[in-house]
Amino acid sequence: MSPGRPDKSNTGVMEWLNDRYPIKAWQDFAKKKKVPLVHGTIWYYFGGVTLFLFIIQVLTGILLLFYYRTGSDQAYESVKFLMTKVHFGWLIRSIHSWSANLMVLSAFIHMFSVFFTRAYRKPRELTWITGMILLLLALAFGFSGYLLPWNQLAFFATKVGTDIVGVVPGIGDFMLTLLRGGHEVTGATLSRFFGFHIALFPGIFTLILVVHLALIQIQGMSHPMGMEGKEAEMKTMPFFPNFVMRDLLLWLIVLNVLAILAVYFPWELGQKADPFASAPAGIRPEWYFMFMFQSLKFLPAHILGFEGEILGIMTFGIAGLLWMFVPFFDRSSLRGVKSRKITYIGILIVMFIIAMTILGYILS
């Protein structure tokens, strides 16, 4: 700074803040932070998009709370009232539902991009694990929120979903009662799911999200494999303002897509749940559970003396755990080598998920 010229950034509010907090240090940090500019830079945006959609979920979720009433005799009616009588109620609910789906999609894309670029490798194992927990929580958000309007589809989806938890050996029965608030899916289940959805999950999610984001700030963004130690040769762009501006532009695009989906494909309410009615034909879960749902459909009643469903559910559970701890199995990534085996496994899993999802929609 040349003498005599006032520092414009250090006047008024900024000066007041600077006197009290290390604002200058944060500014310097933001200025120094760089994002690698490689052919896969597009994938770096999906974490941010997921975060944006989560913010939308929180805001629209708070708005929905002003009218939603829990309880098996009030929930459906309150959502119906919200959608038919409240100004823009249909829009808020539709945005909340669509945004939930896009958030899960964006989180999946983010996860697979991190997987295929091996960004989970040392020293970012914990970033991967916290990310996986966030994805599981996002699925739990989806599952618990799905029941809240208390409609027929959601009722059976919850019956099946909680029954799946119930078959886990040892703790299944305990978990089933814990989730349902009894042995059956009733108003008690609805109260619990409401509590999970609006208090427990948001609390845990926010906490882990803070850790996830802090880890990224501490370690910086992952560089492509083989570029370690060659940072000087690598093209980069400043995080602030270049990457942030691009991020914001993408958020604006996502917001527009969301508005188009919510307006032109509004979320339906369906029939009120009836615990004494047959499961309707064509029943299916949300698309992100479809691959598991369809796989369970294909399994025969008994495999090698085990019940097919137990074997299927245990297989998914073990596969999920292995996936979560992949940074510790993938030894070659530590040497800066992309293991072909891991890539093929990843491709197989993506193909399996896509194929089963498509089959699920064709066959139902």
């Binding site: 059976f156 019956k159 099946v160 029954d163 799946i164 305990f174 009662t177 814990l178 608030g181 009894g182 059956e184 008690a188 615990p275 004494f276 009615a277 047959s278 499961a279 309707p280 034909a281 064509g282 029943i283 749902f293 369970l296 459909k297 399994l299 025969p300 009643a301 008994h302 019940e307 097919g308 469903e309």
Partner: protein, 148 residues
């Protein structure tokens, strides 16, 4: 024993006491929460027999879901004029089954499970047959009761 060794032993004992105290404290905090989350057993009337329908309500080749205590049951009037009743809870993942006229079978829409009209699982993922009930016709009323 040297003073150092004694000091180290005392430290180790203190560590155990403090650690044990912390675990016990955590236990006393978490135990009530753990118990609180388990809903109390609500006594249910042990229903052993109900009037499920009237004869006119269910023509041959059709079925009806009825309340059997807190559980759903399915009453079927078969095409050959027989009456059968089962638990309507699919043995796979607990969905409620229905009667399919086109197949003359009991069917679960959730995972495409099929049972024959004796309640036996014949196709798809259900691992066990449906629990069978006894049907009695008294005048115009159809009564369903548990097997003795």
């Amino acid at each position: 024993m040297s003073e150092d060794a004694k000091g180290s032993q005392r430290r180790s004992l203190l560590k155990w006491l403090l650690g044990g105290g912390a675990v016990a404290w955590l236990g006393t905090v978490l135990y009530p929460v753990f118990r609180y989350l388990q809903p109390p057993e609500v006594p249910e009337a042990n229903v052993s027999s109900v009037k499920a329908a009237t004869v006119d309500e269910i023509p041959p080749d059709s079925g009806k879901i009825f309340k059997f205590g807190s559980q759903p049951g399915i009453l079927i009037h078969t095409p050959d004029d027989k009456w059968r009743a089962f638990s309507a809870v699919c043995t796979h993942l607990g969905c409620i089954v229905q009667y399919r006229q086109d197949l003359d079978e009991i069917w679960c829409a959730c995972h495409n499970g099929h049972y024959n009209l004796q309640g036996k699982n014949i196709a798809g993922p259900p691992p066990r047959p449906l629990e069978e009930y006894v049907v009695n016709i008294q005048g115009k009323d159809v009564y369903v009761s548990r097997k003795a």
